[in-house]
Symmetry: C2
């Protein structure tokens, strides 16, 4: 692993509390690999052999049942995914595929569990990460159960806008059909939902979104930090 990437991984909150020696030994069993776009990295139901870390690129976590499938979240550098499965030594609940050319570090789950068993600091860092993940999913659950798709889209746009710096114009960060899946709707309905937000001053051309009337959109979206603020 090149030194710069070693430092990228080292800088993750998850690994911060590890002694240099412990980290190095954990990394000894790890390897890094480049993947092209659209490669399935893991398949739900498989045993969780590796903790994955996205070093560059991006990864889609999705799930299928009975011929349907849905995107659950996106992982970007620098973060890990499927930590819970690794810790519990339980099968993956979600599949993962690269959205673009990506570089992924793989740490054997056995090593992660072994380190976790002996290093209290590491265990505490994992707690923080898991608590954060748990709260994210609970928020997603509330978003899904309490809102219509139009309301979800409106709040998603406000979140993206803030993420992009808060200006009136910003870009959608992924394909519309994937956005539709993340928001729990079909691509057709996403198209219609964008039009449905026009009365609240939302203009979409391609991947460019303009929010003409911030107050109108916010009044309609009624964002709630207990659903929409990813930081708490």
């Amino acid at each position: 692993m090149p030194d710069s990437e070693y430092r990228d991984v080292r800088s993750l909150d998850l690994f911060a509390p590890l002694a240099e020696e412990t980290f190095t030994s954990l990394m000894r069993g790890a390897y890094v690999q480049n993947f092209p776009a659209q490669i399935e990295l893991i398949h739900e139901g498989d045993p969780s052999d590796f903790l994955h870390i996205v070093i560059s690129g991006s990864v889609d976590l999705f799930s299928s049942w009975n011929g349907r499938d849905t995107s659950l979240s996106t992982v970007r550098p620098n973060s890990t995914f499927i930590l819970a499965a690794t810790i519990k030594d339980a099968p993956y609940l979600m599949s993962a595929r690269t959205l673009e050319k990506s570089r992924i570090a793989l740490i054997p789950s056995r090593d992660v569990r072994a380190t976790f068993d002996v290093d209290g600091g590491f265990a505490r860092a994992i707690v923080t990460e898991l608590a954060q993940s748990y709260r994210s999913v609970v928020k997603a659950q509330k978003d899904l159960k309490l809102r219509t798709s139009l309301e979800r889209l409106a709040n998603y746009l406000l979140g993206q806008q803030r993420h992009a710096g808060g200006g009136a114009v910003f870009e959608l960060e992924f394909e519309k059909r994937r956005l539709a899946s993340v928001l729990g709707m079909t691509p057709e309905n996403l198209s219609r939902a964008f039009r449905g937000l026009q009365p609240y001053g939302v203009i979409v051309t391609g991947t460019r979104v303009t929010i003409d009337s911030q107050p109108d959109l916010e009044r309609f979206a009624a964002p709630d930090p207990l659903i929409d603020d990813p930081s708490t």
Copy 2:
């Protein structure tokens, strides 16, 4: 706290790794209280001052937005709730109310965090609990995004049946309108959904469910351990 309850709390997986002395000191700041039915114990958005433990009775975790509300889960003895908020020292994402007369232990969150900071074994027990909770919500998310309400009900009934011992006849464990909310539908639609399952051999009279044709129901429900098995 009576000795029998002290032992109940002590027997939780979460507290098993604590030294007797550490546990006792954690319990010193705790107190136990009886609540009547339908009392709101915590309100979403409030600071998480206490880790709650259900000693007897049951508690509904729910959330509201814009005049709507939804039940997210039920907590029964002996388990804790809002552990993630306690650990992160972040506001509650869900409200909680007693479903029946209940006895609840309250441990100051500050004490839990302090113990967590110094006791690696406790941190590891918390990891296990959080990983479990995280996976439960992910499963609920998949259930909600991948299935229709009829399919969710069918799978819920199969789960309840298994939980009740696997016989053809069993009882629903809570009010239908709450069940509707948990499953993400209205009470009216739950009524219709029960009728919609008649062709698959489901008969409901009051709270008593009879599954006449197990194979038919399972063929329709297509249960999947990665969604429906609470143990993994």
